[in-house]
């Protein structure tokens, strides 16, 4: 009842070929590559530690330092991750949202410093600075969504990416035009000067404050997304926009809320950033933006927990990595190679955890 099968393939020969192809060359290359990197890292670290150039206190302070800068990355990364979770677009201009708030707050800070308010009522002053920075960042983020991104809903994903890149330049140079091209230093806030000893570890007050504040904000945000109606709407819109809108969720408002929250966190991150680094310039958003984006991917983009973990890890890697891995290997100027280490580790992580740390490992589905 069956028609004859098509001419049989030369099974023998193709079997042999298949046997050869069955060798997972790619995987072997990957493993060799990873092993050599890991060997390099371990050997470099051992050599560094053996030289004893750095004391235990040095390492401690480097780690604290990494945690502090990582906390800032984490807060910015949340903005990327929230927008990605809901619109699946990389908001390349998020770094500029971060810059806009803290740069504007600078002028308030100068005014406060001028009349002495900054150091006579530091807590109120900082609260006001925080508010101003967050408000401006929220404003810029929302305007950005309204004018640049909303018209593009449903366009292929490269289109909003390019728009976001355009917006990034546009915002940078708008603020250059408004506030000038010079680097400006935030006035000193006296109560933030000096060091604390916590659990026997010496750290700068600013570092401790930044780490704690970032953690607090993270917890607040987590609760917000998990518990509030807006938070639930955000998750629903991220799952399926059409169904969410059928369920009576106002999609536009939810998206605006997402941008606003991302902006608020970026604004807050800005103030924490100047606690640590104390200067502002119109290009200041770009690099932290890229790093936060990296952190978001490292942790698993779309996940708030991932953003936090990714940020902290990246911060620590940057602070500790070059000295630990390269000093012992006698590489000149190891700290110049910081991006190599940060991105190298990113590649390594993604090879083995293609979804980042928190992203569900991506099982292939047909």
């Amino acid at each position: 009842m069956t028609a004859p099968a098509p001419a049989p393939t030369p099974t023998e020969q193709s079997s042999r070929r298949l046997r050869f192809e069955r060798i997972p060359m790619r995987r072997i290359i990957l493993i060799v590559l990873s092993l050599s990197i890991i060997y390099g890292v371990v050997a470099g670290s051992t050599a560094t530690l053996r030289t004893g150039v750095f004391t235990a206190e040095d390492w401690q302070s480097l780690i604290i330092n990494g945690l502090a800068r990582g906390s800032v990355y984490a807060l910015i990364a949340i903005g990327y991750t929230l927008v990605y979770g809901i619109l699946f677009m990389i908001n390349f201009a998020h770094g500029e949202v971060f810059m806009s708030g803290v740069y504007t707050a600078y002028f308030v800070a100068v005014a406060f410093a001028g009349n002495g308010f900054l150091n006579s009522n530091p807590l109120i002053a900082i609260a006001i600075l925080l508010l101003v920075s967050m408000a401006v960042s929220v404003f810029v983020a929302v305007i950005l969504e309204r004018l640049a991104y909303r018209p593009l809903r449903g366009a292929p994903r490269l289109v909003p990416l390019i728009t976001a890149i355009g917006a990034s330049f546009f915002l940078q140079y708008t603020f250059r035009g408004l506030y000038g091209a010079n680097v400006r230093a935030y006035p000193n806030i006296e109560i933030l000067q000096g060091k604390w000893t916590i659990f026997g570890i010496q750290m700068l007050k600013t570092q401790a404050i930044v780490i704690v504040a970032a953690m607090l904000l993270w917890v607040l945000l987590y609760l917000f997304v998990a518990r509030t109606k807006t938070g639930r709407s955000m998750r629903a819109v991220g799952e399926d926009r059409e169904i969410a809108s059928l369920m009576g969720i106002n999609v536009d408002r939810t998206i605006v809320a997402t941008f606003a929250i991302g902006g608020a966190l970026a604004g807050a991150a800005g103030i924490l950033y100047v606690f640590l680094f104390n200067q502002v310039i119109f290009t200041m958003g770009f690099l932290p933006g890229i790093k936060a984006f990296t952190a978001a991917v490292l942790g698993g983009i779309g996940s708030i927990t991932g953003a936090a973990l990714g940020g902290l890890l990246l911060g620590i890697l940057e602070a500790v990595g070059p000295n630990l891995f390269l000093t012992g290997a006698n590489v000149p100027s190891p700290n110049q190679l910081q991006p190599v280490i940060a991105f190298g580790i990113l590649v390594l992580v993604l090879i083995f955890l293609p979804g980042g740390f928190v992203g569900a490992s991506e099982e292939k589905r047909a």
Partner: protein, 567 residues
């Protein structure tokens, strides 16, 4: 007439003017004469904003002539009033210069047309009102020929004035005197009138001809049409060949840069446009090409022997010998970079490629590899390639080389798009799993795309090095990757002519505004946003993509990795 129709455009227009003033554009642009002695670019910016506001206001109601003009007048007047209010605020002594550095006495002077405040305000109101009146009235004009001819005449005059840096040099190069047309960077008054009249006449004439032409074209036999097509192609090629000698070295240099970006765009187009791999680190291959070329040829290279002999011993006296090896090296590096990360999808791949770009930039900058790659001091003295009469440092010469390689890359792209390989890429771009189920080895084809992209990108690097003669690490930043990506998306992803248009628009046009370097990236960003909003398929899209875009508009555009939702 609905008076509220003018409200929104007027308000927006006013905001735009304040914005332009506050970021310093008005004051700085005023330095450039549009009509020398009459009006500078800063004032033109304001008038243009007013005109657009008035036009939009009048357009909204499709208002006929007299009321249209009135609506325009209201809108234009509003913009002017808002501007005046802003001016008044500053004049009232609200010194905001500590914060807004661009709000300077010079700005005020511009806004007051160099007169005293009261007189300036009157002029501003008058100019705003008149411009609004005219622009609004234009909408109401029933005669399409007339309207379009006026708009054309004004735009052309503006463009000719803005194009002064290039046009004056080009005309001078051709031996045409320009004194009657240009003076101190702007048009002369006589030149303005002539240009306006010429533009008007030209458009008028063209519009009359257009209908006739269409008629002729419709009746043209197939053969004739093909001959015409072929003839215009040959004419275009001849024009491309003659171009550098017509426009002179400066414009040739710009064209060379545009060509480099076309080359890079064609390469990246294979990766992003054909294979669908979002690569944000394309600069890596550009850098590999440039550095490899420099290492092979520069006397500053570590390959130079003790006796001062270059690597010439092995036959690499110059870029011509070196470039095939460079391309091979780049292809190998492309495959090496690609292999570990090809399984990653979408944005994960994007950030990893971005990382590779940064890694390469950092490595060429590093003290660690400085003995080989020059570090911060770069690699200099890349020798001119023979023959001596065809010095590649001369922009008019390298133009041809770049043009030739652009043709080669375009040919490769064109042939591949419609081949078995191109179909495999297209399938992979559409749906990786299904492509694999159709027997396509996704890994192999991704690697192939990466390697080919790397090869073409490295060619760009080779001729960049040949063109400049010195390379420094800071030429290989993220900005280059972003530029190239913007070029192909702006032009229309997957479209070969689109790459050319995109490069011309994003790389060529900004050269017109070189003197306003601080606003170049601002304008660049604004253009990117505007085009993506109003023409997301790109300027010259691949027809099929365009069809798909309009078909699929509104549906969810993305497939995502699992678990990509907020935790």
């Amino acid at each position: 007439m609905n008076p509220t129709a003018a409200l929104k455009p007027g308000l927006i227009g006013g905001t735009v003017v304040i914005y332009l003033a506050a970021i310093g554009m008005v004051e700085r642009f005023q330095d450039r004469n549009v009509i020398t002695g009459v009006v500078g670019l800063g004032v033109v910016l304001i008038l243009l904003t007013i005109a657009i506001a008035a036009y939009t206001a009048a357009r909204k109601g499709r208002t006929p002539m007299p009321t249209g003009a009135l609506v325009g007048l209201v809108a234009g007047g509003m913009v002017a009033l808002i501007t005046l209010g802003f001016e008044g605020l500053i004049n009232a002594g609200v010194d905001v210069r500590g914060m807004f550095v661009s709000i300077t006495p010079g700005l005020l002077e511009t806004l007051e047309f160099g007169l005293n405040p009261a007189l300036g305000a009157i002029v501003m109101a008058l100019a705003g009102g008149t411009t609004g009146l005219v622009a609004g009235g234009l909408v109401g004009l029933k005669d399409e020929h007339l309207r379009s001819s006026i708009v054309f005449a004004v735009s052309m005059t503006l463009l000719i004035s803005l194009g002064e840096p290039i046009l004056r040099v080009t005309l001078g190069n051709l031996g045409i005197p320009t004194n009657w047309l240009y003076e101190l960077g702007g048009l002369t008054i006589a030149g303005t009138i002539i240009t306006l009249l010429a533009g008007f006449g030209l458009r008028w004439w063209l519009m009359g001809r257009k209908e006739k032409r269409q008629e002729i074209a419709a009746h043209m036999p197939e053969d004739t049409r093909r001959t015409w097509g072929r003839a215009s192609l040959i004419a275009a090629i001849l024009a491309l060949i003659a171009l550098p000698w017509v426009v002179g070295p400066f414009v040739s240099d710009v064209l060379g840069t545009v060509g480099l970006y076309v080359l890079l765009g064609l390469g990246l187009n294979i990766v992003v446009g054909y294979a669908g791999l979002l690569d944000l680190g394309y600069v890596a291959f550009f850098a590999v090409g440039a550095y490899a070329a420099a290492i092979f040829t520069s006397p500053a290279s570590f390959l130079v022997t003790e006796e001062g002999e270059t690597f010439a011993a092995a036959g690499f006296t110059n870029i011509w010998f070196a470039f095939p090896f460079v391309v091979i090296i780049a292809v190998v590096i492309g495959a090496m970079i690609g292999a570990p990360v090809l399984r990653l999808r979408g944005d994960y791949l994007a950030i990893v490629t971005l990382g590779f770009g940064e890694i390469i930039r950092t490595l060429v900058l590093s003290d660690w590899l400085a003995p080989f790659l020059g570090g911060a001091q770069g690699l200099t003295r890349i020798p001119a390639a023979p023959p001596e009469s065809f010095d590649l440092r001369n922009p008019q010469h390298i133009y041809y080389v770049i043009l030739a390689f652009c043709f080669v890359a375009a040919y490769i792209s064109y042939r591949l798009a419609d081949s078995r390989v191109g179909r495999a890429w297209a399938a992979m771009r559409e749906d990786e799993d299904v492509a694999e189920a159709m027997g396509i080895s996704v890994v192999r084809y991704k690697l192939l795309a990466f390697a080919m992209g790397a090869g073409v990108g490295s060619l760009g690097g080779v001729f960049f090095a040949a063109k400049i003669g010195s390379i420094f690490p800071n030429s290989f930043g993220l900005q280059v990757s972003i530029n190239v990506l913007a070029v192909i998306i702006l032009g229309g992803i997957g479209s070969i002519p689109g790459v050319i248009v995109g490069a011309a628009a994003l790389v060529g046009l900004p050269e017109l505004l070189r003197e306003f370097g601080e606003f170049r990236l601002l304008i660049y960003g604004a253009i990117l946003i505007a085009i993506m909003i109003f023409r997301p398929e790109g300027l010259l899209p691949n027809k099929r993509r365009q069809r798909e875009l309009h078909e699929g508009a509104g549906s969810a555009p993305v497939e995502l990795p699992e678990g990509a939702s907020p935790a």
